[in-house]
């Protein structure tokens, strides 16, 4: 398509979009907004007759209409309200995450956001999203709760692997000791992998990673992660793994899965070594 035709095409598309934006919307949404205006829309977010999905969408539309400096008010109220339908609270959380990126007043309402998120942790349908947002913000009380849950399963809010994943993003969350004990006696492979990710920053775990890497009874995922961790902590210990050679067709018949795993591991190690930083001159 020529540049001129491209321009014409885009201009047409833009004109269509502008026309569509100017039209009133139809459908159930329109019934809620029939009188127009942001206030009507706002009250529709709490309209007792409306289905949660519609109210969630109305909440989004309210946020879009407001200027970015004050769009968080309604979503914060909905998120913090334990009596609100989970679908609406989840939508509110998602909106608040968007506003946390683009609102110029976020520093002012960050404390309220964190408070609302901490309350949302109590609601099972919101727990994962709230914990994610809280740990992304580096919230220490949340880190402590997750740690407590790892040390005492009676207090656990989420499964072990999930808790470890959330805590792994902050080295100062002090989860390393717990990760070591989980790695020593993992309830499942997911927990082991997450524990290993935490320990990839622990120089004291080098020997453990060497053993895991050499242990052929471990899964491919575990051995690959052990190699990655070793590359991070003690790269001189990671040597290219030779591609396994088959002496005879009998070998192929007897251990096809092992060969595939060994091959995958060799490729993985090769990639780790290939992208290493060149040693620096002084």
């Amino acid at each position: 398509m020529s540049i001129r035709d491209y321009r014409q095409q885009l201009e047409q598309e833009v004109a269509q979009e502008s026309a569509r934006a100017a039209e009133p919307s139809g459908g159930p949404q329109a019934e809620l907004e029939s009188a127009g205006g942001a206030d009507q829309l706002l009250s529709s977010t709490t309209h007792p007759e409306a289905a949660p999905e519609l109210r969630a969408a109305a909440l989004g539309r309210v946020a879009r209409q407001k200027d970015l400096g004050s769009a968080q008010v309604a979503p914060l109220e909905r998120l913090a309200d334990p009596n609100e339908a989970p679908a609406v609270r989840v939508a509110a959380l998602s909106l608040l995450k968007l506003l946390a990126i683009s609102s110029p007043t976020f520093p002012e309402w960050r404390p309220m956001f964190l408070e609302a998120l901490r309350r949302a942790v109590d609601e099972p349908a919101l727990r994962a999203a709230a914990l994610e947002a809280l740990t992304q913000e580096g919230d220490r009380p949340t880190q402590e709760k997750l740690l407590a849950g790892l040390k005492d399963p009676g207090q656990a809010l989420v499964p072990v692997d999930h808790a470890l994943r959330l805590l792994s993003s902050d080295p100062h969350a002090d989860v390393r000791e717990v990760a070591r004990s989980v790695a020593g006696n993992p309830p499942d492979e997911a927990a082991l992998l997450q524990a290993m990710k935490v320990l990839a920053g622990d120089p004291g775990s080098v020997e453990a990673f060497r053993s895991l890497l050499a242990d052929r009874s471990q899964s491919s995922s575990v051995r690959k992660l052990a190699a990655t961790a070793l590359n991070n902590l003690a790269p001189e210990l990671l040597q290219p793994a030779p591609e396994p050679r088959l002496e005879a067709a009998a070998d192929l018949a007897s251990a096809p899965a092992l060969t595939a795993d060994e091959s995958a591991l060799a490729k993985h190690i090769g990639a780790l070594i290939r992208v290493r930083r060149e040693p620096a001159p002084r």
Partner: protein, 415 residues
């Protein structure tokens, strides 16, 4: 050799990269008895390769060939060389510039190097990009850390929530891309077109197979093929890339939160004719794209840990570039093109942190990464760029403003 050509002010191969915007070139003959008429043309080195067009001066329309007369005394004759619309390179040196005159000819291989829709890359383009990206991270101890350190909460005011959002991120991406090109000069920062399904991007051989979840679920790490260059990706000392999607990456575009939908390309362009209106796109589609995932990319303090972040932002920048082209908004002196605020880092002629190294109030006390990386293909925007310096990125208003990159789907010529 009777003919000599320089591209981007240099005879070296490092400078032989062009985008759509005409690169300054020149040609001469060794001193001879008389003037020499030459014809310049371009063709791909192999089928599917890149092709270039010629500009007798930057304001002139492009032409497929150019006739020049080279003076007898051997002085240089200038001309412009840009990529032909919709004929970018796929490989390094797959575009040929050919000069013929009086039986002599000179062929110079070069690359029409453009940022492309990542979903359309050939496997070898994709793999080169991934290799460079992985080396930039170097298992956590590479220069990727600088970009991780720049995009943190403490520096928010420098980067987000204002008119400077778009030029600041344009500068970030330029620095990042030049970092990739230091490793492999044939690589560009390709974009993730979030308003369309991008099934190839979210695969285990590219940016990772990304599971679909709801907000109720925790994220998981993306799945990568064995031996994938990003296998050893480490940020903040932790391996892996934590990202799941709130949509089916194989069939759907990124949706945004309910009621705050991610705008399509056309709807984004339709936000308005002036910069202040267009810059609303920081909310949607930009913010909406970020929060279409669960995992690092959904929050500012952690977003830059996921390399997809840079491809997301390349699309944001492409939308701005496309709007600039469509609305002819390239002269930085026009407030319809950029309207700043009366605050450091937001006025048209303010330099941009951290590349300006300014660490006195109101900027943060730290400025990671040093000055903006140079490029062998252009002197712009300089080591300490300003907002002004990145607005006219193709040099439509002022040829010297060309900063050396372009998008496959954003033309140079305004008409």
């Amino acid at each position: 050799m009777p003919l000599e050509i320089e591209i981007n002010g240099s005879a070296t191969p490092e400078a032989r990269y062009i985008a759509y915007a005409p690169s300054p070139c020149r040609i001469r003959q060794t001193p001879a008895a008389g003037p020499l008429p030459v014809t310049l043309s371009s063709q791909p080195a192999q089928p599917g390769g890149g092709q270039a067009v010629f500009y007798s001066d930057p304001a002139a329309p492009s032409s497929a060939t150019l006739q020049l007369t080279l003076p007898a005394d051997g002085s240089w004759v200038d001309f412009g060389l840009g990529g032909k619309w919709q004929a970018p390179s796929v490989d390094d040196r797959d575009c040929l510039l050919i000069a013929t005159g009086n039986g002599d000819s000179l062929t110079v291989p070069l690359m029409v190097r453009l940022r492309k829709d990542a979903n359309t890359l050939l496997p070898r383009e994709r793999d080169r990009f991934l290799e460079a990206l992985a080396k930039l991270n170097a298992g956590g101890s590479g220069r990727y850390q600088d970009f991780r350190d720049i995009h943190v909460a403490a520096a928010n005011e420098e980067e987000h929530r204002g008119p400077h959002f778009l030029p600041w991120h344009r500068t970030l991406l330029l620095d990042f891309e030049r970092g990739l090109q230091d490793i492999d000069s044939a690589v560009s920062l390709h974009y993730w077109r979030f308003d369309q399904p991008a099934s190839s991007v979210f695969q285990s051989n590219f940016m990772g197979a990304t599971a679909q979840v709801t907000l109720d679920d925790p994220p998981s790490d993306v799945a990568l093929d064995s031996g994938h260059p990003l296998s050893g990706w480490i940020t903040d000392g932790v391996p892996g890339i934590s990202r799941s999607a709130l949509f089916d990456t194989q069939t759907s575009p990124a949706p945004g939160p309910p009621g705050f939908d991610l705008l399509s390309e056309a709807a984004t362009l339709a936000l308005g004719d002036v910069y202040t209106d267009f810059a609303q796109m920081e909310g949607t589609p930009h913010g909406a794209a970020h929060v279409s995932f669960v995992g690092w990319i959904s929050s500012i303090p952690t977003a830059a840990k996921d390399p997809l972040f840079f491809m997301l932002h390349a699309n944001v920048d492409r939308l701005w570039a496309l709007w600039q082209w469509l609305k002819r908004r390239t002269d930085p002196n026009d407030v319809k093109v950029y309207r700043g605020q009366n605050r450091d880092g937001r006025r048209l002629d303010d330099s941009t942190w951290p590349w300006n190294g300014v660490t006195t109030s109101p900027r943060p006390d730290f400025a990671p990464g040093g000055p903006l990386k140079p490029s062998p293909t252009t002197a712009a925007p300089g080591a300490t760029p300003t907002i002004r310096g990145v607005i006219d990125y193709q040099g439509n208003s002022s040829a010297a403003a060309r900063i050396g990159y372009g998008y496959d789907a954003v033309p140079f010529e305004l008409s």
